[in-house]
Amino acid sequence: MSHVSRTLGTAGAALAPALLLPTLAFAAGSVDGAVEKQAVNVTAIAMFVAFVVATLGITYWAARRTKSAKDFYAAGGGITGMQNGLAIAGDYMSAASFLGIAGLVFTSGFDGLIYSIGFLVGWPVIMFLVAERLRNLGKYTFADVASFRLGQGPIRSMSASGTLVVVILYLIAQMVGAGKLIQLLFGLDYSVAVILVGVLMVAYVTFGGMLATTWVQIIKAVLLLSGATFMAVMVLVHFGFSMESLFKTATEVHSKGIALMEPGGLVKDPVDAISLGLALMFGTAGLPHILMRFFTVADAKAARKSVFYATGLIGYFYILTFIIGFGAIVLVLNQPEYMGADGKILGGSNMAAIHLAQAVGGNVFLGFISAVAFATILAVVSGLTLSGASAVSHDLYASVFRKGRAAETDEIRVSKITTLCLGVIAIILGIAFESQNIAFMVGLAFAIAASANFPVLFLSMFWKGLSTRGAFAGGFAGLACATVMVILGPTIWKDVLGHPDAIFPYKNPALFSMPLAFLVAWVVSKMDTSDEARAESVAFDDQYVRSQTGLGAEQASSH
């Protein structure tokens, strides 16, 4: 027992800082610095192989049912509200949000709860403002909705750019995180791990399309929720289901003492905190791989149900991670087998949940949780890749390049080729960024989603006056502003480029870049007196009826 945790631990030291950075809040899966290769963990590998075999079986089954473009992009529209809710929750519960938030609770107590709440509150907003309109207007990608009555060429090009930037930033972070985590948990070579993830994700997506991608995500969500529930229950059993006695023991053994139960220094600067909150809240409503899931269900009713299930499951998951973090303080902290000679936990705080898995369930359960962490990364990158491939094949190729005259078979073929290209790009970048500081990437992705994708999507659905030029200018203004502010801000200018002081003082640009996108879109639309703009404004009326009633919306195919 101690051997495994010790080998996990020593190399994990390098993993800790990355997950402790504030950008952890973005569930990055980013792991920085060098990580030593570990001894091969046989139990974990056996469980992971079982997962891969099962999901490849599902991919085979899905491939036989995936014939039309609608099957490939949207699983034929035949996913139920509950299934989609699980898949959405799965997209959101990444390896880093599990290990990172549990680790944050382990070191800072209450502050960990503050972060997880930030992730959750975007979901009600999606429910109230986005979900049903998106389902009623769209077909396969959120660009379908944004370009519904606007110029197809410019708006789809812009939405596809927003999608690809978000997807690639996210993919790099996930690939690097995957490589390091797998190296740590399984003892595989970094590059072997990255190639394995790349090959498997390409297989799921090209052969099984959205149907396979969704089921991989559902299975992983069930495994992760079950594993986390087991850990939380074991912790509570230890304390006779009394939270008070759990907290009491934790404050007695933790160096922070009673301060564990109070808001600490995590939210220092109100401007940064509010800006981060905006990015999390509205960025979630602009993440292409999340938005595409709304087209997999039959109608607006099922779309709403899926958000409700997703919100419930994600909220439940964050409560579990909170208990797991405190459980680790009591059962892992100060236990000699998990502590290094320096008096710190082996492998750093983000390993707290992994150590706890061993403490409550032994080596078999440790293997299970490690395999689930790997499966989590695999499921998340598959969704991302499909979303990027759809942007290229459906938006750029079929709608912009072929002006809607592409045959469905050609469109699917382009999508599969793109998936393969994205797989190769992800592997190359994953290896290239191995020892780079990539902690900013998912933060940037969220900021761009909130500042470019969300404003255009929102205005196209809610504001009659939005014109093509306005949407195009506003979207690119948000994209550029968020990117420049992150580059000039502390995360890149100071931490990556090594300048002594940042030019832009805040880590999170959304508070500035998001209003800018809205403002530019509004001003440019107002100034646009072209005939196209008038026609687009008139077309809003029919779009409005469809968005409200679902009349004329894409119907589910019968599976």
Partner: protein, 102 residues
């Protein structure tokens, strides 16, 4: 979908009733979650002691724990309230509108 069906929907007073009621309901709930979340962040930023106070005499659990869990539950409950009304009342109204516009 023919042009006329959209015109007929627009001419139906029930359609305007649907948009207005559901729209107002959605915006009120959005405002509620914004107030809850940014209220929570504001307390953390400006009056953290409020959340750090013990929940009861001699307890280790602080006010922040039920408040934090309350924010999580409120997000779930608010989405639940919206789904309940939208999938019942509003969808029934939508069905009637579509039926009458055929």
């Amino acid at each position: 979908m023919s042009r006329t069906i959209y015109d007929r929907v627009r001419a139906n007073p029930k359609f305007h009733q649907l948009c207005e009621t559901r729209g107002r309901f959605a915006w009120i709930l959005t405002a509620v979650i914004l107030v809850i979340y940014y209220g929570f962040i504001a307390i953390i930023a400006f009056a953290p002691d409020m959340l750090g106070a013990p929940l009861g005499e001699g307890s280790v659990t602080t006010v922040g724990i039920p408040v934090g869990l309350g924010v999580i539950l409120s997000a779930i409950v608010l989405t639940g309230i919206y789904v309940y009304r939208a999938n019942g009342e509003f969808d029934e109204l939508t069905r009637q509108i579509v039926e009458e516009s055929k």
